[in-house]
């Protein structure tokens, strides 16, 4: 856990939320009606992995609520709260990913993906449909199907795009050892 909540974390939430909101614009269709891959999820996962659970969770909350309100004019609360679980969940192991140190390796990637799958399962297969039923009295089979698709879409986008971003950032921003010029 990241105990010290400093200025950098506050700014990361702010800029991260801005990124999340802006990227609401990109939705990649995957051929199933009304279901899209959301690159913004991957960015939230990235920031959670770098800055920890609080940053991840709050970006999920503010970003989802604000993004939906600004782009879609409504806030579907039963899908906002699960987002917090995903962001915070992925951030829990942020210390062990070592992204900024440039040491995000295959083992870290496996850990990251296990965590994101568990967090997404909790969020979309369990929490979101249950909230949908309790709060909005939506039909159970509909919300569980929607939840399953959301789960699928999110683990794909975080698993592929999130992992690519983490590897790339870790390699671009991290330290590098000694290199020699070749002829």
């Amino acid at each position: 856990m990241n105990k010290k909540f400093g200025i950098r974390e506050v700014v990361a939430i702010g800029i991260g939320t801005a990124l999340f909101v802006v990227l609401t614009e990109i939705q990649i269709p995957i051929g199933i009606p009304n279901t899209y891959l959301q690159p913004r999820m991957a960015v939230m996962a990235f920031l959670a992995a770098v800055f920890g659970p609080v940053v991840g969770g709050v970006i999920g909350l503010l970003g989802h609520a604000l993004g939906d309100a600004l782009f879609y004019g409504g806030v579907w609360w039963s899908w906002v709260f699960p987002e917090v679980i995903v962001g915070a969940g992925i951030g829990l192991l942020s210390k062990s990913y070592k992204v900024l140190e440039g040491e995000f390796d295959r083992r870290a990637a496996i850990r990251f993906n296990l965590v994101q799958i568990i967090a997404n399962a909790l969020a979309w297969i369990l929490l979101a449909p249950v909230l949908d039923i309790l709060i909005y009295a939506e039909p159970a089979n509909k919300v569980f199907i929607q939840g399953a698709f959301a789960f699928l879409g999110n683990i794909i986008i975080i698993g592929v795009l999130g992992t690519i971003l983490l590897f790339a950032y870790s390699r671009v921003a991290g330290k590098s050892g000694s290199l020699t010029k070749e002829d």
């Binding site: 790339a168 290199l179 002829d183």
Partner: protein, 577 residues
Amino acid sequence: MEPIIEFTDFTFRYRAQKEPSLFGINLKIYPGEKILIAGPSGSGKSTLAHCINGLIPGSLPGEITGSLTVAGLNPEKAGVFGMSKKVGTVLQDTDGQFIGLTVAEDIAFALENDCVPQEEMFRRVDRAAEMVQMRDHLDRSPAELSGGQKQRVSLGGVLVDNVEILLFDEPLANLDPAAGKRTISLIDEISRDQKVTVLIIEHRIEDVLYKDVDRIIVINDGRILADARPDELLCSDVLMEQGMREPLYVTAIKHAGCRIRPEDRPQHIEQMNLEPYRGAVLNWFENTPAPPARPAADTVLEMEQVCFGYSEKHQILKNVGFRIRKGEMVSLVGQNGAGKSTLASLICGFYQPDSGRILLSGEDIAPLSIKERGERIGLVMQSPNQMISKPMITEEVGLGLTVRGVSEEEVRERVEDTLRICGLYPMRNWPISALSFGQKKRVSIASILVMNPEILILDEPTAGQDYRHYTEIMEFLRGLNRETGLTILMITHDMHLMLEYTDRALVLTGGELIGDRTPAEILTDPEITERASLKKTSLYDLALKCGISDPAAFAHRFILYERSLRQTASGQGREVQ
């Protein structure tokens, strides 16, 4: 008088580095002084500034020996927060430090963090806004402000705290010349009216010297190399030796074979006594060959009566027309909001013109998609970080070909050729993280060049760069232009770049093209420079004061002479990377 800043045998080494970044610094600065700190990148001048405002060792840890006192405090003990009451820092990134949602809130930011009651805050914000001439814009959001205005707000945000020392980190880096001039005047006014001590870190020495400074301190390799009044310093060659730009008129007089004496007050061309030098300058002018006429080549890019606006009322470009010939290096200048970036966006196809035509090698490109244009018109963005998306150099440079389905074999070949041209071949297997900023810039240029575009458009290629990076990038582009005949169009507000590196300048103002001539002619034309917020070159004043009737020819010969010197120099010690 007691010094307000005193370094005594001060040495600092960053924790991650082997060698100290500052060595045995001894420096005294007295209350009310206005000091210019100049030095190339990596010289230690920013490190010096960070020691004064407490970021070192507070946020940037390392090892200190010797002592430092700033306004009676030891920054090491007082920390960033303690020092912020005494030292106000204005950074070069005008957007990064504008944190508030409005002008008033941004100025109030430090007061809010100090729990100052609201009533008092209103009063103090009003006063600070008054000082920086932003009193009428308190409710504006940063999106509604120009770069210069944002910077004035940042200045207000530190003045609100009654600081004793103002520290400016490259304040001119992101401003157009007119805004830069205004900033320097404002700093001057505040330093006199508020009796604060001012430290300006800049390499644009001539622009800072627009208003008097008390001393110039030259730093390189972590050591102070000179500490003198401007009039004295300009007489020496220390700036040139350290790879920095002297005021152009000073260099010109030196080229004429004169030794400048401090008593002639070379700090400002307007007040300088030129009597002793006039003859030599005239003589030099007459004996320097005039530039050869350029043979006319085919037209690569042509704009015909192009109009564009986001809405009917708000026209951004009005009947813009010009031609760019093969092998030319052309600059597109004008103040912020003049329509420069919009013009580039139209050429690249991000927007469509409302009327008029854009021709590429004689062909109307209206039907071409962004991607198709991208193969023929290369666009390089301001910062390489806005373009680089792969961790390895070869992957990044080859990306544009790979996504176009070019065979692996051909991609490899073309990438290697491009890397050779760009001097990156020996580093081809490196990760991009290992490159310097200038090298990254070359990678982003290489990733465009690999597609063999007919013309290269660069957006602010040197914005925010210090002189060394600036020269590195520009010399690279000039070499490309000379060796491969590549046509280059640069969007810039940097007068030096325009004058020293381009053959022709297009001047946009308010969406209209008001000039299309050589940079020397543009920058010696008082009317155009005034209308387009450019800055007249000091060579103009020098020429007139020396009785030369054609200042443009003087400026032109000066630039060619400089180029020939640079070529001889680079011919001797050519960097092979």
